[in-house]
């Protein structure tokens, strides 16, 4: 063994290992680790790879269901969608890299999540991105947004997987830590799912894809620490993406998977060759021996330490059946990909690395995996926020408030973003970005998937449990609103430093709420990712548990969207309205206050109301539907009107409620539906015990309130479309006019408000 004795506890501390963790590593080896081994322990036991702070809480989430084929623990979750098909999906963050180098950080986030999905044998069919940036007032925000969006587009467009949805929000808590969470959805045959557990001692271990370079060394460790003001200096730890190689890898892997050559497969993500080799060996209860001299290298003179910790992108590790090399060779040569046999599976249970004729590392795999530290970090609940009495707020003109809300960065159209993503490639896009959920066809007989990402971080800050439950419920509601049956979700837990009890308290609360909602809605978690330490100089992001939801549509003919369809149709409000303004967007944008308790989440009502709406959509009684969320009822009607290019006339508010509480309150479990047959819908609602009331009629070219206030649909659209292009062109907020004088910045002829268009991205790794 080479270089075994110069590693000290101080050097281990620089690698992010505590003294206790270092002692544990020494105990496992029975000696002091050498540098390569220290690097391996450090990466495997980083927060990013080990989930040491979050593991005990993640275990409490429901992960099973009649359709679940594979829950958390593999590269992605797998859910049965009938007819021998399965949907494979996962969300992952690339937060830290995207802040340091937005284009490459976001691009490689997309690349990483694509690999997680096609590694399982699935062809990727959709990408969604959930993005959160700091205050638009900071010049850096524009730079980050521009870089992240073009990075996502640059990668996704090139590999030819449509980016179909997501979200984009702004809040000053993300000033020093933006969030980029990317979700990928793939389609596989349910009996052809590929897993990562090594099998068959003696089987060859194959490396395929890009050559290994010195980029991204210790990315996992970077993603497991807070930023201080030296974030810029960490740029060399951000990887560089090559979507062309990824495209070749997708096609080559899927082609090879048609045969029987592959026994196990794993992509090289965070902690590169280290984590892929260790995870494959660990899951199979076997050993792996690698000859690092065989690894395709981009530059000469790389050490074992560098080879094992490089996070060069677009690389896969495979274990083949004996003799499978010929098949692999044929496919990889066709696709002009580098590959090499770099080792073999062993019965020793040890990870043995050889280089230049010497043993560079020798670690027992089982303890490296199972003795990884698990922490029960101390946590503290936040004191609850006061309720806001709507009657205490000043009276304001609702039309003026509506204009300010739909022009706010939060609700302004995100068309500028999603038009930079190819959302049409593959030719299956049923409902384009801008609706409650994107709908992607998966079979010629009309089966489709509904996809959405959701989170309301301000609710999570006020009450993490309510916020966690609300995120799950809103995801379920968005899928329901297009007529889909919600199947399962993937979660991306973005939080601050877990070593602070109040942050850990936010995490614990969010998980509690999510758990409750998942159980009540039969909506299990099948994959996910945790990104901690999202704070800079001690200031943490809002707790942001992003939910990526997947729903099933039996036939795309039964899908509805939010566009108003026909003059003379009736608008019906489903669900109870109490005028809850605490934590609302109205309070924040109009009254300038972030105070108050988040809205209660009644999961029984959520389930009952949603099941009712879905049933009515499928029965053909509802022709348009929109869930109520940020901005409440009036914003929802305005979005329906802008999308449909058609006006509406609203009835008076519920008696006893201040007008703006009725119009802008954010009570949960609510939908607006459009119907030509209000009698049938209202009668069925009564029979089902679902609160429902007529709130207006479709028609005209303006949105008109019962007090006579009105605004034309054209004016609404212009207001809604203006902010983001103007902002990105460097103009001050909300100033009307042509962004950069270029015609393509403004598309007022195209309608949809589309604020949920596809975006957000990656830091802790798989679980």
């Amino acid at each position: 063994m080479k270089g075994g004795s110069n590693v000290t506890p101080a050097l281990a501390a620089e690698h992010g290992l505590t003294e206790e963790e270092f002692d544990r590593a020494v105990g496992i080896l029975g000696r002091t680790p050498n540098m390569t081994e220290l690097g391996i322990f450090s990466a495997m036991w980083s927060e990013h790879c080990s989930y040491k702070s979050s593991k005990i809480w993640l275990k409490t989430l429901p992960t099973t269901g009649p359709r679940v084929i594979c829950g958390p623990g593999e590269n992605a979750g797998v859910v049965d969608i009938g007819d021998g098909d399965a949907v494979v999906f996962k969300i992952e963050s690339h937060n830290h890299p995207s802040f340091i180098e937005p284009y490459q950080g976001a691009a490689t986030g997309v690349g990483g999540i694509l690999r997680d999905v096609f590694t399982m044998g699935a062809r990727p069919i959709a990408i969604l991105d959930s993005l959160r940036f700091g205050s638009p007032d900071l010049p850096r925000t524009r730079h980050l947004l521009a870089g992240v969006v073009s990075g996502i587009g640059g990668y996704g467009n090139c590999v030819g997987v449509p980016t179909v949805g997501g979200e984009c929000e702004f809040h000053s808590s993300y000033d020093g830590n933006n969030l980029v969470n990317a979700m990928c959805v793939g389609l596989a045959r349910s009996d052809r799912i590929f897993y990562s557990a090594a099998a068959g001692p003696g089987n060859p271990v194959i490396y395929v894809g890009a050559k290994t370079g010195r980029d991204g060394i210790h990315g996992a460790t970077m993603a497991s620490a807070e930023f201080s003001s030296d974030a810029e200096e960490k740029r060399p730890t951000v990887q560089v993406g090559d979507p062309f190689t990824e495209k070749l890898l997708i096609e080559a892997c899927l082609e090879l998977m048609e045969g029987d050559a592959i026994v196990a497969i794993q992509d090289m993500g965070a902690a590169g060759l280290t984590s892929s080799a260790v995870e494959m060996a660990g899951k199979g209860g076997l050993g792996i021996e690698l000859n690092l001299d065989q690894v395709p290298l981009r530059e000469a003179g790389m050490s074992a330490y560098e080879i094992m910790l490089s996070e060069s992108q677009e690389r896969m590790l495979m274990i083949l059946r004996p003799g499978g090399e010929a098949d692999a060779c044929r496919v990889f040569e066709k696709w002009e990909l580098d590959f090499a046999v770099i080792g073999r599976v062993t019965e020793t249970g040890r990870l043995v690395l050889r280089m230049n004729g010497e043993v560079a590392a020798d670690i027992p795999v089982e303890p490296l995996v199972s003795a990884a530290p698990v922490y029960q970090r101390p946590w503290r609940r936040r004191p609850s926020e006061p309720e806001i009495d709507p009657a205490s707020l000043p009276n304001r003109d609702p039309i003026e408030c509506l204009q300010r809300l739909i022009a706010s960065p939060m609700l302004a159209s995100k068309r500028w973003i999603w038009e930079q993503y190819d959302h049409l490639v593959m030719g299956n896009m049923v409902k384009r970005p801008g609706g409650d959920a994107a709908v992607v066809r998966v079979s010629t007989d009309g089966k489709a998937l509904a996809l959405a990402t959701d989170c309301t971080p301000r609710y999570c800050r006020a009450d993490p449990a309510r916020g966690g439950a609300q995120a799950v419920a809103e995801s379920w509601r968005n899928l329901t609103a297009v007529g889909a049956e919600p199947l399962a979700l993937t979660d991306n837990m973005n939080f601050g430093n877990p070593e602070r009890p109040e942050i850990m308290g936010e995490f614990v609360g969010a998980i509690e709420g999510m758990r409750e909602a998942c159980l009540a809605l039969d909506y299990p978690v099948v994959s996910g990712n945790v990104s901690l330490y999202n704070e800079t100089n001690g200031s943490a992001i809002l707790p942001t548990p992003v939910i990526g939801g997947v729903g099933l549509v039996a036939n795309i003919r039964n899908v509805v969207d939010l566009a108003l369809k026909r003059d003379g149709d009736t608008l019906i409000l489903i669900g109870e309205t109490s005028g809850h303004l605490g934590c609302s967007l109205y309070l924040r944008e109009i009254e300038g206050s972030e105070a108050g308790q988040s809205p209660p989440v009644d999961l029984t009502a959520e389930r009952r109301n949603g099941d009712f709406v879905r049933g009515m959509i499928r029965a053909g009684h509802i022709v348009g539907c929109h869930d109520l969320s940020d901005g409440g009822l009036l914003v929802a009607v305005a979005e329906m009107a802008m999308t449909g290019g058609r006006g509406a006339v609203l009835d008076p508010p519920s008696p006893g409620l201040p007008s703006n509480a009725f119009l802008f309150g954010e009570d949960q479990a609510r939908y607006i539906v459009e119907t030509a047959d209000p009698g049938t819908v209202l009668k069925a609602a009564r029979a089902a015990g679902v609160p429902a009331r007529k709130i207006g009629m479709v028609g005209g070219v303006a949105l008109t309130l019962s007090d006579g206030g009105a605004i034309s649909i054209d004016a609404l659209r212009a207001t809604n479309e203006a902010w983001l292009p103007n902002y990105m062109a460097g103009m001050s907020e909300g100033v009307p006019g042509d962004g950069d004088g270029r015609s393509d910045d403004r598309a007022a002829d195209q309608g949809e408000p589309a604020r949920r268009a596809g975006f957000d991205r990656r830091s802790a790794r798989r679980r």
Binding site: C158, G160, L424, V425
Partner: protein, 229 residues
């Protein structure tokens, strides 16, 4: 009607055009790998959209030098129709099978959205499914679709009826606003001299199904298949 779709490493819209052709002909076109030793005889050759060779260097530059392009050029010379869509158009331009070049969009951003096109010449096998002057609504999805050529070439294209499509408004009117990517004379697609080679940026193949956002591209494939049968 036998069609082949040529696949380069990085092609990614072959599914879309195969589906559109299959919808009209009832059978899937044959996909050909760019390194295949022999290419089957066909009535139509399609170069699909995508990012051949990653569009590294210049869009279409490396694919234009792929050996298969010699065969495509020979067959085009024999009169076999060739259709290049988006990246396929860029490859045909780089291969000098069509004049001009595709520069980055005026906005310098990738743009995916529905646009309107005016059919400039319907007296060709490709456009015979449309009325002359008809405005159709179809999607674009590209970063480098800003068509450019010298004035002499542009005049020649115009004079000989070799402009296939122009970007326009919903009413068919050509304007700088409608010309979203800044193309010379708002050109979205052009023919070769014999009008048997067409290169165009928009994705007509993504507008063939009423449930998937529109059907204005369908007449293109119906007309083309009809003309070749």
């Amino acid at each position: 009607m036998r069609a082949i779709v040529v696949m380069f490493p990085g092609s990614n819209r072959e599914r879309d055009v195969c589906a559109a052709l299959a919808l009209v002909t009832g059978h899937e076109p044959v996909r050909v790998w760019h390194r295949d030793a022999t290419i089957p005889e066909s009535d139509l050759i399609v170069l699909p959209g995508g990012f051949a060779y990653g569009d590294y260097l210049r869009c279409g530059a490396m694919a234009a030098h792929s050996p298969v392009m010699c065969e495509v050029r020979d067959r085009a010379a024999r009169g076999i129709p060739v259709l290049g869509i988006c990246n396929g158009f860029q490859i045909l331009a780089e291969a000098r099978m069509l004049p001009g070049a595709l520069l980055p969009n005026r906005s310098l951003r990738f743009t995916c959205r529905d646009v309107h096109l005016r059919v400039e010449n319907n007296q060709t096998i490709f456009t015979c499914g449309y009325q002359a002057g008809q405005a159709i609504r179809v999607p674009v999805a590209h970063h480098d679709g800003n068509y450019t050529a010298d004035a002499e070439t542009l005049d020649r294209l115009e004079d000989k009826g070799l402009v296939a499509f122009r970007y326009c408004g919903p009413d068919g009117g050509v304007s700088e606003t409608a010309n979203f990517n800044g193309s010379a004379r708002a050109i979205a697609g052009i023919f070769n001299n014999s009008r048997t080679v067409l290169g165009l940026m928009p994705h007509l193949e993504n507008a063939v199904d009423p449930l998937l956002g529109g059907t204005d591209g369908r007449a293109f494939f119906e007309g083309l298949v009809g003309a070749l049968q």
